[in-house]
C-alpha cells in the first residue's frame, strides 16, 4: 500500500501514460483499418458493379502513362 502522496501520484501518472499509449495505438490502428479496407461479403455489390463494367466492355485496361 503506498505510504506517501507521491506514490499515489506516480501510480496515477503511470496509469495515465499506459492509458494514453493504449488510446494512441487504438486510434492509429482504427485509422489504418479505415485506410486499408478488406473486401468481404458486404462489399459484394460494389465488386459486382466493377466486374460487370469490365465484362461489358465499359471499362478497359488503362493504357496511358498518366491520369487525365
Amino acid at each position: 500500500m503506498p505510504e506517501r502522496w507521491s506514490d499515489y501520484l506516480s501510480i496515477l501518472m503511470g496509469a495515465l501514460a499506459v492509458g494514453y499509449i493504449v488510446y494512441e495505438i487504438d486510434r492509429r490502428r482504427r485509422k489504418l483499418h479505415d485506410v486499408w479496407d478488406v473486401l468481404g461479403g458486404e462489399d459484394a455489390e460494389l465488386t459486382i458493379g466493377l466486374v460487370s463494367m469490365v465484362e461489358s466492355g465499359e471499362l478497359q485496361p488503362y493504357a496511358g502513362s498518366a491520369l487525365s
Partner: protein, 223 residues
Amino acid sequence: MARSPRASGTSRRPRAETGTRREAVGSRPTEAPPRTVAARRRQVPAQSPALEEDAGWEEARVIEPAADAEQSTRPATAGPRFQIFIIDAGWDSPAHRVLHRNFGLLRDLQRGEPIYVLSREKSIEFIRRHASSLLGKDPIIAVHDLEALGASGTAGFHGFRLHLGLLSTEQQALLALQAFSRFLNAHRQSLDLEAEIRRNLRREGMIGAIEIILHHEPREIGG
C-alpha cells in the same frame, strides 16, 4: 523494423522452397529440358538458328513445372493475380495530386496486372449508385484478388481497398501508395492474401500494435 514472426499454419510459401522444388524437378532425368538457353544448346547442338528466335517463347514454356510436380504454390506464370480499379471523383485533395503525379510509376511497377481507371463521371456515378459510404474517401484504389474471386466469389474475402482520400497530407498519401505497390509486388504469389493484408497493412495483432508505435510507415499513415 523487426519482421513479425510467421504465425503457425501460415500458408505463405518462402521463395527458397519454390527454388528448391524447381531444382529437384530439374534433376530428374525425365523432367523438362534445362531452363537456360545455353544448356539447351549444349543438349541440342543441331538446333537451327531459325529456331533460336523461338527460344524465348520455349524458355517460358520450360519454366513451368512438370505436370506431375506438386502444385502447392501459385505458379509465377499463372497470369494476372489482381484487378486494380482507380475511383476518383476529383476532389482537389493532397491524395488526388499525389496519385496523379505518381500514377505513371505505379502503373510501371504493376505491369502484368490490369489497371482500370474510372473517369470522373463514371466515378461519381459509381459512388452515387453503389457506394455512397465511400463519398469523400476517394481517390480509392480497389484491388480484386482474382484467385479468391474464382474460388469463393464475393461471399468472402476477395480483395482490399486503399482509401487515399482519408489521408490528409501528401506525405501520407505517398507513403500509402508506396506501401500499396510494395505489397502487391511482394505478395503476388501469396496463398493467404487476407492474412498478409491484416498483418502487414492493417497491423492487426500484438506485433502490429508495436509496429504502429515503432515503425515510421504505419505511424505516419495512421497519424
